[in-house]
Structures are given as structure tokens and as C-alpha cells.
């Protein structure tokens, strides 16, 4: 028995020598000199590249890391696993590739981590393609201006701050103001309106209970089939939180590059910046403002620049981004908020005060803006939303002044009353995105004064009655509006007649 095993070992050795003679298996190696807080310092590996994947041979198996600090005689690498398994003296190899994640339609309906490993217990994911986690954004000639609408189903957004496919629109606000709710409603709307847009939701350091609730909700709404969730929890190492948005973007880019449309939601980039700050400080990079490293702007700009509307030559696909930023006490002039505001093509600012006044979504008409979405707004919505934003901003200013005085002139009074009705109209319950025809009919009725005799507290009831009436008796109007084209005079007349009838039912209430 012993002789047999020696013979086998001898055979192995001869085979090894044969391979050795070709010297192809000779790999560049280094040694871990220090490790701690998720960072390993490595001696050797002089030919390592930036962001290249390293394999550390720990006793329990191979732990991967990626090189972020390439110094004269040392490499600082961030571990993709727990640092408890790695110890000084472990051998390190170059994997020979940059970080890649699985991409493709096989990921739809799945919850994965930033390395593409399934977290939902639904079995392994076998994709045909992989995508680079860090990839250069598409160039100028490969792009086209934003011109197709991405309907969120939220009337306040679609009417006042329209978003186009390929746009980057920031959702910003304090905690508990409904930022994630806006993003989820937008995802739900893509399924309800059958837009074919694929959703990629990136949870950065979110509680796993929140992610589980989100998955349940998306399944209940029938959205999960066209959604990929990239989840990281606060218990994950900072490296995974840092990689999450890039990995999610790689998954979204697959659809963009294959003539499809994808929507990225980064929830949230504040936690992403904090994770990067942690990594940078541990890598001993010099701290700057608020202890963030000098390249924190580039961290987000290179991520969001990957969202684009591609030219026809490249298939006309698109990647739209809705990054989320959490502010402290409504301070949008802090470091990370100002950075991301300047990178994106507009922002939707959510106010705590409005939220607690019951105005939900709590969108601030004055501080929100969409810089490029106007060109992409659905013609039907554009034709009825007109000066909605201006009217609402003026109303909120007037309303704050009006509470100090009792005598107001007629025009101010009417402006305030119209504003109250508009505010009521734009209130929208969660998970109930409105379709194009619902938005157009509702806004037309209010902005044209057809509901002026309806008490503001009954506006939502009147709106529901109008929509029910149109849906039951005027399916042709509904169909015409759903096309998104500018409504004809006949269509508007029908809506006007129906709204007048409905309004009469609410007079005096």
C-alpha cells in the first residue's frame, strides 16, 4: 500500500517536472506582510496592476482582494472576504484579471452580492457573459441626447421634473422622507406600463430586512421578473459596499449595450462615499474635507458617467440612473450632496416639513430641477403641465406669507386656492404609480380650473371619480392619451365635460 502511494507520488512529481520545464506555471507571487481592518499589505508582486484581483492563499482556501495602493515597494489591497482568514506570511498571486461580475438576462429576478454570487437561495446563476466592474464610460460619439421619456408614474415628477432615458437624476433628502419609495414606485411603474425597462436596484449597506421587504413587495407587484437586486448589508466589508454600484452598473450596461433600456437605482451613495472613506483612511491615503479622500468626486463621477443614452449606431440602448443621497438636517451644501448634485442632470429634493404636513411625495418644487428631461417629456403630459412648477412654487411662497395676514386680494386668494388644489392633486399614495392618461386627465381638470369649486380636501375623491368615469365611458379617450401624443381638442373637450360633471357632484361639500 505504501509502495503504491509512493509510486503515485513519483508519477505526480514527474508530471510536475515536465510542466516545470515549460516554465509556464511560474507565477509572480508576493507575501502578506500586514493585515487588518479589511486591508492587506503585500510585499512583492511588482507587476500588479491597479484594481487587479489578487488571490491570497489562506489556510482555509483562497481569499480574493484587489490592489488599490501601488507603492514603490508595497501594495495595499482591499480584501473581498473576511480578514480573519488571512494572516501575515500568506502567499499572494495575481489572478491576471480585473474584477468582473456575471451579467446577462439570467440575473433577472435574482438577488446577488457585488461579486454576482446569489443571495436568494434560488440556486447558482449561470450566465453566458461577464462584465468589467470598472469600465470606462462611453465616449461622446457613442452618445445621443436624452429624448425618450422614462415615466416614473409619480405625477409631480413626470409633470414638473421629467426624466429621460439615459439621464442621471438625483433623489436627495433627509432620512425618512420617502427617497427609496420614489425609486420603488418608478420600478413598479416600469412593469405596470410595460415599458420593458430593466431595473437594477443597488442596496449599499442597507439593512437586509429592508431588502427582504423590498423583494417581497416587488414580487407582489410583479416587478421582480424584470429586476436585479445587488445587495450589501452593514455587516459586509467596506470593499463590497464600494464595489456594489460599479457591479450593478456592469449588470445594467449589459442591457444598455444590447439595445435595451435599464434603470439603475443606487440606494444610497452617501453610504458608498462613507465606505470609500473608510477604505481610503485604512489605506493611509491623506484625508481631505470631511475626511474624504481627494478623489471622492471621481468616485461618483466615473460611476454616473456610465449612464448614457447610446447613439443609433450603438443600438440606441440606455442606462438611466437614479442615485440617492441622504442629507443631514436638509443641508444640501455638504460635501457629498454638492458633488453628486453637480454630477447629475438634476435633482428631486424631498423636504421633511412637507412630509410631515402629509404632502407625499414630499417634493420641493423650488429646489428640484431636471436639466435635460424637458426634451424627453411625454407630449401629452407636457401639454397639460405647462406652468405647474411655477404655480406651485409661487403658492408655497404665498402660503407662507399669507399665514401672517388675513386680508388678501382676490388674485392672491385664487392663486393660493389653486395651489392648494394642485398640492392635493399631486399627493400620491405609495405603490400606486399613475399611468399617462390618469396623469393627463387629472392635471387638465385642475390646471384648467374645472375643479375650482371642489373643496381642496375633496380633490382626490373628485380625481378618482373623474378617472373612473373616463375609464368606464370613454375608453377611446384613455387609449388616445396612453399613446403619449399631444391630446386633440376633442379629447380635451371630453375630459372637460366629464370633469365638469364630476365637479358638480362635489360642489358644496
Amino acid at each position: 500500500m505504501a509502495e503504491l502511494s509512493v509510486a503515485e507520488l513519483s508519477k505526480d512529481l514527474r508530471a510536475a517536472i515536465t510542466r516545470l520545464e515549460h516554465t509556464e506555471g511560474l507565477e509572480s507571487v508576493g507575501v502578506v506582510t500586514r493585515v487588518g481592518d479589511g486591508v492587506a499589505w503585500i510585499h512583492g508582486l511588482r507587476d500588479a496592476g491597479y484594481s487587479e484581483v489578487l488571490q491570497i492563499e489562506a489556510p482555509s482556501g483562497i481569499v480574493e482582494a484587489f490592489a488599490l495602493n501601488l507603492m514603490e515597494d508595497e501594495i495595499g489591497a482591499v480584501l473581498l472576504g473576511t480578514d480573519a482568514e488571512v494572516s501575515a506570511g500568506n502567499t499572494v498571486r495575481l489572478k491576471g484579471t480585473a474584477l468582473v461580475v456575471p451579467v446577462g438576462p439570467e440575473l433577472l429576478g435574482r438577488v446577488v452580492d457585488p461579486l454576482g454570487r446569489p443571495l436568494d437561495g434560488a440556486g447558482p446563476i449561470k450566465t453566458k457573459a461577464v462584465g468589467l466592474v470598472e469600465r470606462e464610460a462611453i465616449g461622446v460619439m457613442g452618445r445621443k441626447s436624452v429624448h425618450e421619456p422614462l415615466m416614473t408614474g409619480i405625477m409631480a415628477i413626470d409633470a414638473m421634473f421629467p426624466i429621460g432615458r439615459g439621464q442621471r437624476e438625483l433623489i436627495i433628502g433627509d432620512r425618512q422622507t420617502g427617497k427609496t419609495a420614489l425609486a420603488i414606485d418608478t420600478m413598479i411603474n416600469q412593469a405596470k406600463q410595460k415599458t420593458g425597462v430593466v431595473n437594477v436596484y443597488v442596496a449599499i449597506g442597507q439593512k437586509l430586512s429592508k431588502v427582504a421587504r423590498l423583494v417581497d413587495r416587488l414580487k407582489a407587484e410583479g416587478v421582480m421578473d424584470q429586476t436585479i437586486i445587488v445587495a450589501t448589508s452593514p455587516a459586509d466589508p467596506a470593499s463590497l459596499l464600494y464595489l456594489a454600484p460599479y457591479a450593478g452598473t456592469a449588470m445594467g450596461e449589459y442591457f444598455r449595450d444590447n439595445k435595451q433600456h435599464a434603470l439603475m437605482i443606487y440606494d444610497d451613495l452617501t453610504k458608498h462615499a462613507v465606505a470609500y472613506r473608510q477604505m481610503s483612511l485604512l489605506l493611509r491615503r491623506p484625508p481631505g474635507r470631511e475626511a474624504y479622500p481627494g478623489d471622492v468626486f471621481y468616485l461618483h463621477s466615473r460611476l454616473l458617467e456610465r449612464s448614457a443614452k447610446l447613439s443609433d449606431a450603438l443600438g440606441a440602448g440606455s442606462l438611466t440612473a437614479l442615485p440617492i443621497i441622504e442629507t443631514q438636517a436638509g443641508d444640501i451644501s455638504a460635501y457629498i450632496p454638492t458633488n453628486v448634485i453637480s454630477i447629475t442632470d438634476g435633482q428631486i429634493f424631498l423636504e421633511t416639513d412637507l412630509f410631515y404636513q402629509g404632502i407625499r411625495p414630499a417634493i420641493s418644487a423650488g429646489l428640484s430641477v431636471s436639466r435635460v428631461g424637458g426634451a424627453a417629456q411625454t407630449k401629452a403630459v407636457k401639454s397639460v403641465s405647462g406652468n405647474l412648477k411655477l404655480g406651485l412654487s409661487q403658492f408655497r411662497e404665498l402660503a407662507s406669507f399669507a399665514q401672517f395676514g388675513s386680508d388678501l386680494d382676490e388674485s392672491t386668494k385664487s392663486q393660493i386656492e389653486r395651489g392648494q388644489r394642485l398640492t392635493e392633486l399631486l399627493k400620491q399614495p405609495q405603490y400606486r404609480p399613475a399611468s399617462i392618461w390618469e396623469q393627463v386627465a387629472s392635471m387638465y381638470a385642475v390646471t384648467n380650473g374645472l375643479f375650482d369649486r371642489v373643496n381642496p380636501s375633496h380633490i382626490k375623491d373628485a380625481q378618482a371619480a373623474l378617472l373612473a368615469r373616463l375609464s368606464a365611458d370613454h375608453t377611446d379617450v384613455v387609449k388616445a392619451l396612453e399613446t403619449g401624443d399631444k391630446p386633440t381638442d376633442a379629447v380635451l373637450k371630453t375630459i372637460g365635460t366629464a370633469a365638469t360633471h364630476v365637479a358638480k357632484g362635489f360642489e358644496g361639500k
Binding site: 503515485e8 507520488l9 507565477e27 498571486r93
Partner: protein, 132 residues
């Protein structure tokens, strides 16, 4: 108090002396004294590795081969030939370690490079892939 020198300068000084055979014992004593004086003894392992790299660049290769059982003279010679072809060295110091833990195959370490064809390594890779 001695002036703080970079690791690179220390490495090149020591490697030059070792390569030319200039009073090896004295050079090592100088290095030890310097590291103690500047409280840099923790850097010893890294400096030794740096010196190995520097010596390899000068044609003096210190190699280590680990197998599960003893190597024959012919096998050793074959390994030395391979190192020579790879590193263009004129002096190879091959250290051979028998370690049954590698199970089979061989692991060859030369400064900055490794060839690992051991069964232990193959099993470790398989275990990691299985975990994934």
C-alpha cells in the same frame, strides 16, 4: 542616532556587498546593528526578501523547493536548469525541504515567483471553488 535610510538603499548596499563577497559577516552585522539602532527590526523579513530579489537580479538565486519526499540528483539538476533558464543566474542555491503536507507534486519558490503543482494547492483551489 543613525540617519533613516530607505529600505531600497539598505537592500542595494547589502546585496552589492553579498554579491561581490565583500566581508559578508561584517555587512550582516552592520545591517543588524542599524536595524536595532533605528528600531526597524520589524522590517527584517521584508528586507531579507528585498535582498533576495536584489541578489536574483545580480545572478545569485536563492530557491526553495518543497516536495513530499526526497529529490534525486537528476531531478534537482533539472530544477536548477529551469531556474537558470528563467533567471539567467550564475549561482543557484537550492534549498530542498521535504514536507509530507504537500501530498504530491512540488512547490518551487524563487524570489518573486512560485510554481505550485502540489496536490495540497490543487485541493485548496478546489475547496475554494466549491465554496463559491
Amino acid at each position: 542616532m543613525a540617519v533613516k535610510l530607505s529600505r531600497r538603499r539598505i537592500t542595494h548596499y547589502v546585496a552589492d556587498n553579498l554579491a561581490t563577497g565583500t566581508d559578508v559577516h561584517n555587512t550582516l552585522m552592520q545591517l543588524a546593528g542599524y536595524l536595532v539602532d533605528t528600531r526597524r527590526t520589524k522590517e527584517l523579513d521584508v528586507i531579507v526578501r528585498d535582498i533576495e530579489y536584489a541578489l536574483a537580479e545580480r545572478g545569485l538565486v536563492s530557491a526553495r523547493v518543497v516536495t513530499a519526499f526526497k529529490l534525486s540528483y537528476v531531478t534537482r539538476q533539472a530544477i536548477e536548469d529551469v531556474i537558470n533558464s528563467r533567471k539567467k543566474s550564475h549561482d543557484i542555491q537550492l534549498q530542498h525541504v521535504v514536507d509530507p503536507a504537500v501530498l504530491g507534486g512540488l512547490r518551487l519558490d524563487i524570489p518573486g515567483f512560485r510554481l505550485d503543482t502540489t496536490l495540497a494547492h490543487t485541493l485548496s483551489t478546489l475547496r475554494t471553488n466549491y465554496k463559491k
